[in-house]
Symmetry: C2
Subunit: 264 residues, 2 copies
């Protein structure tokens, strides 16, 4: 089975123009079929602030009112997505920018209100991903670049967590490819000491992850990231790696000593 | 040869939520393969104004500086494009939002500076349109929805005239389809008396167009629209119609008495 590499880049890379362009240069050089999923970075918050719209975050997630869904659609699916696509085109990488609404790629449901009303935020389901469309365009050498926006059946736009899109798309593509999932962020991997970028844990599994959570080494924003990664491998993604965007080529090529590999 | 309908909707429809949704409902009902090209409306100007960025227009065309290209990309390729795509999805019309940068659809060149420096505005060429990609996705029942944004070979985003995109895409698709081009705007067609929406001229050709220009009946913004349309038919587009968005179904179906038909 052919390998497909699903790569997610976080906001810190998007906010740093030079780091983003270095990343996109490396990304272009990856030979396998590949999909890029991007977050939004601080641009949405900056634009909201300029327009006098208050940004509300609960547990790292944006509360998305009518005005905010407009802002995130403009910045993520508009500026960030097209900037990445244009930069990839200039490197002869034939990118196609997508939201989850396009080609019915990732139909979503508005998240039901329980303790917190997140507003126009969506939940997605791997069973509903339009894998036929992705397979078609990957087959003609096109590289999907996905913004974390989708819509519900009523046609209302929704903000989606980009990590979740990466995991969902990776899992949905398992019947068609041997899928590798790479989460790129601003650290070299899961660190034993958060202040020491050389203290990368090379490999973790569920047992070690539970232990590191108890010890507080996996904490805050890393908890959902690691949980996502563990779930992906247990659902059949062949490998999940978490590491620094500057090492994307080594991680994509499976070189030892780059990033943290999550094993089943 | 199968018919392809290329439809352009202007800013006045986009600015009117109710008119836009009525239009999209009718558009969904068109049975032939179809492509929608949209302008941007007043949103870009409104957003610029809120952000304190001055909007400069020369002869109806936006002067596009670095900040402005960001604004038009956010509004046209982000908000307007995804709003249309999501609304079409909710009507079981499988839309795919695109800019000219996506899938290398419409590679552009920055317009050379002559008398006026339009800034980050692009010129396009029908010979460079990625017709293979359009044919592929039309063939699987997907409906392309194109925002008037593209990029040059350096990966710089560019603002493109939406009427020009519609004409260029229509002409590029001639080898694959019998192409019909419909320009929708806020009037019922080319009017003999601009204040009387019932004074539609049913049909014009080059000779009549020249006469009406001399008489001042075709003036201002209508001149480039009619010139575009005449050029399209002389280049092999089978029919060009200009009329009101509310009559899109009748114009698409070729019913008599709706819009102005431009003949070679």
């Amino acid at each position: 089975m052919e390998e497909l590499i699903v790569i997610k880049i976080g906001g810190n890379i998007i906010d740093d123009t030079e780091a983003l362009h270095t990343f996109l240069c490396d990304f272009s050089a990856i030979v396998s079929p590949k999909i890029l999923i991007h977050g939004g970075g601080k641009l949405a918050t900056q634009l909201s602030s300029k327009l006098g719209i208050e940004t509300k975050m609960v547990e790292g997630r944006r509360i998305t009112g009518e005005e905010t869904v407009k802002i995130v659609t403009m910045t993520y699916a508009g500026w960030v997505n097209k900037t990445i696509v244009a930069a990839l085109q200039s490197r002869q990488c034939n990118a196609l920018g997508l939201s989850g609404a396009d080609a019915n790629l990732i139909p979503a449901l508005k998240r039901p209100v329980k303790d917190i009303d997140y507003g126009w935020v969506g939940n997605i389901d791997k069973a509903k991903v339009n894998t036929g469309f992705l397979k078609n365009i990957l087959g003609v050498g096109i590289v999907p670049v996905i913004a974390p926006i989708s819509c519900n059946a009523d046609g209302h736009l929704l903000n989606i967590n980009a990590d979740t899109i990466a995991k969902t798309v990776a899992e949905a593509m398992i019947p068609c490819y041997r899928v590798k999932l790479v989460y790129c962020f601003e650290k070299s991997g899961l660190l034993l000491d958060v202040n020491d970028d050389s203290s990368v844990i090379n490999e973790i599994d569920l047992t070690l992850a539970e232990q590191l959570k108890t010890e507080g080494i996996i904490n805050a924003g890393m908890v959902p990231k690691i949980d996502n990664a563990l779930e992906a491998v247990s659902n059949g993604v062949s490998e999940v790696v978490i590491g620094h965007a500057k090492n994307i080529l080594q991680m994509a090529n499976g070189e030892k000593g780059f990033g943290t590999i999550i094993k089943a």
